[in-house]
């Protein structure tokens, strides 16, 4: 099954509540996927700093002293905020690539979950309510975010097998369904220079979109290509630095419900996930059409 939730805020006054609203949506979707949960939150991207979210199986050892070592390696001050098994490194935007390379060198066991101006990703195995409380998602502010509760089908129940998958700067993707041509597509994408961390079908979809956008397509065009090039069942919800998109395959048997008000656009695998949102009683609620790309962007809304 798997459960997907997503929330794209139009009303700035709701931004402090983003984490709390998304957490409530995610926990409601527990019985669609109790194996693992993950959430991507897009915060304020207006400053000159960028963020790298890292994860370690041994956080005490790996995160100790990293702030000083990393600062020395990139030649500028960095800050690290540790949250359970994850930590968010904040550093100057122009040091992002240097910083990522330095992290991999200093702590080869650490996994980079996401990087970019706005995105932070937290994901772990376990029940959604435990995952959101572990990372204090409730108290997070942001402009938009997506979440996933996983019932594993195509690959192992591990932290890395949890969604969202991020394969490009400020990009992430969550998936309900299963892809049937992911092995072949993975081979083709590897040939184009993409790298993979798991055997997961969803990571292939995320990498496909990243590769298509690297060729100059915008996200909308990349999602339209996905309808033709990805074989299998899927409802995808994707996030970019300022945008939020939804697409389903042409058969569209994986469930999806959307709601829009003046304050937000919301996505849920089921209507139940949306019932605690403010003003949902008067929202426009609809089921996204198969093979149709839906996309919202803060730059266009503003």
């Amino acid at each position: 099954m798997c459960g997907i939730v997503g929330l794209f805020l139009k009303d700035k006054s709701l931004e402090p509540e983003l984490g709390a609203l998304l957490s409530s949506m995610l926990v409601t979707m527990t019985d669609r996927g109790p194996d693992s949960a993950g959430i991507a939150i897009y915060g304020d991207a207006s400053g000159n700093n960028a963020k790298i979210t890292i994860q370690s199986a041994n956080p005490k050892k790996d995160f100790a002293g990293l702030e000083a070592e990393l600062g020395q390696a990139v030649g500028a001050p960095v800050t690290i905020q540790v949250k359970s098994t994850h930590a968010v490194i904040t550093l100057a935007k122009d040091l992002l690539d240097t910083g990522k390379a330095a992290v991999s060198e200093l702590r080869p066991n650490i996994r980079i979950m996401s990087s970019g101006d706005a995105i932070e990703i937290y994901k772990e195995t376990g029940l959604p309510k435990d995952v959101v409380s572990r990372f204090a998602v409730n108290s997070m502010a942001g402009t938009h975010g997506i979440g996933h509760t996983r019932m594993a089908t195509e690959s192992a129940v591990t932290t890395l097998g949890a969604h969202p998958f991020s394969t490009g700067s400020d990009q992430c993707l969550v998936h309900n369904g299963s892809l049937s041509n992911h092995n072949n597509l993975r081979r083709e994408l590897k040939r184009e220079g993409m790298t993979f961390e798991t055997e997961n079908d969803t990571e292939v979809a995320a990498a496909y979109l990243t590769a298509e956008m690297a060729k100059g397509k915008n996200l909308g065009q990349a999602l339209e290509g996905a309808v033709d090039d990805l074989d299998g069942f899927f409802t995808f919800v994707v996030g970019t630095k300022s945008g939020f998109g939804v697409v389903r395959d042409a058969i569209a048997c994986k469930p999806a419900v959307m709601a829009e008000t003046d304050q937000y656009v919301a996505f849920g695998s089921e209507y139940r996930a949306l019932v605690n949102l403010p003003g949902i009683e008067n929202a426009r609620v609809w089921e996204p059409e198969p093979a149709t790309v839906y996309f919202w962007d803060h730059q266009k809304v503003a």
Partner: protein, 228 residues
């Protein structure tokens, strides 16, 4: 009239109350409040009860209904009125995928739009949709009537047996073995009856087109192998 608040009462209590109605009972009208997208609301009714659900429901609402009248004052998730035997189910809003699937009898009225696979494998149920229906609707439909006041999506009536389909708007495409058929007087009479039962006025039966099976595929014939 019993009012069941699903914010405080477990769903199982509602369904047990509906299943335990004895012959001669006076409490035959139920109101359900705060459904908040719950699954399996009012499933398995087998008595002539009336249930008014004030809000939207999730999966499988009013499934297997036999003789009840269930009205959802909101929208319904996937599989509403699946395998209905008899009675009436009315959705004031929209319905998600496979509404009325495998229904054997009774009437399902959707006042908004229905999504894909509406009436899939229908076996005697009558379905009236005031709005549009999605792709693959009435797939393998065996008997009963599907009446659509709006438009139909792709592959309407694919692999259809004897279900009768009436669409007033456009049909994006017809599925394998589904063809447009003549609208004869008996069909106009039946349509008028269904429209009246579904509370539709100011729409004339003559405005619809009828679709049905070409009957080429439902007995295997090697000459038709390419069409499968």
């Amino acid at each position: 009239m019993p009012v069941i608040d699903l914010a405080t009462t477990p769903l199982r209590e509602l369904n047990s109350a509906l299943h335990n109605i004895q012959n001669g009972s006076n409490d035959l009208s139920f109101e359900v409040v705060n459904p908040r997208g719950s699954h399996s609301v009012a499933v398995g009714i087998d008595a002539p009860v009336t249930v008014d659900v004030k809000g939207s429901v999730g999966y499988y609402c009013a499934g297997m209904n036999d003789g009840g009248t269930v009205t959802v004052h909101g929208s319904a998730g996937p599989g509403v009125a699946e395998n209905m035997m008899s009675g009436t189910v009315v959705i004031e809003g929209d319905a998600s995928q496979y509404a009325g699937a495998t229904g054997r009898g009774g009437l399902l009225v959707i006042k908004g739009n229905a999504a894909s696979r509406c009436g899939i494998s229908m076996k005697g149920i009558d379905i009236v949709v005031h709005g549009n229906i999605g792709h693959m609707s009435a797939f393998m439909g065996q008997s009963g009537h599907l009446v659509v006041l709006g438009d139909a999506g792709d592959a309407l009536g694919d692999s259809l047996y004897e279900a009768k389909l009436f669409v007033r708007g456009s049909v994006k495409s017809l599925g394998a073995d589904c063809i447009e058929k003549e609208l004869r007087p008996e069909h106009l009479t039946k349509l008028a009856e269904l429209l009246e039962k579904a509370g539709v006025s100011e729409v004339r039966p003559e405005e619809f087109k009828r679709y049905g099976s070409a009957r080429k595929l439902y007995n295997f014939n090697i000459d038709n192998a390419d069409a499968y």
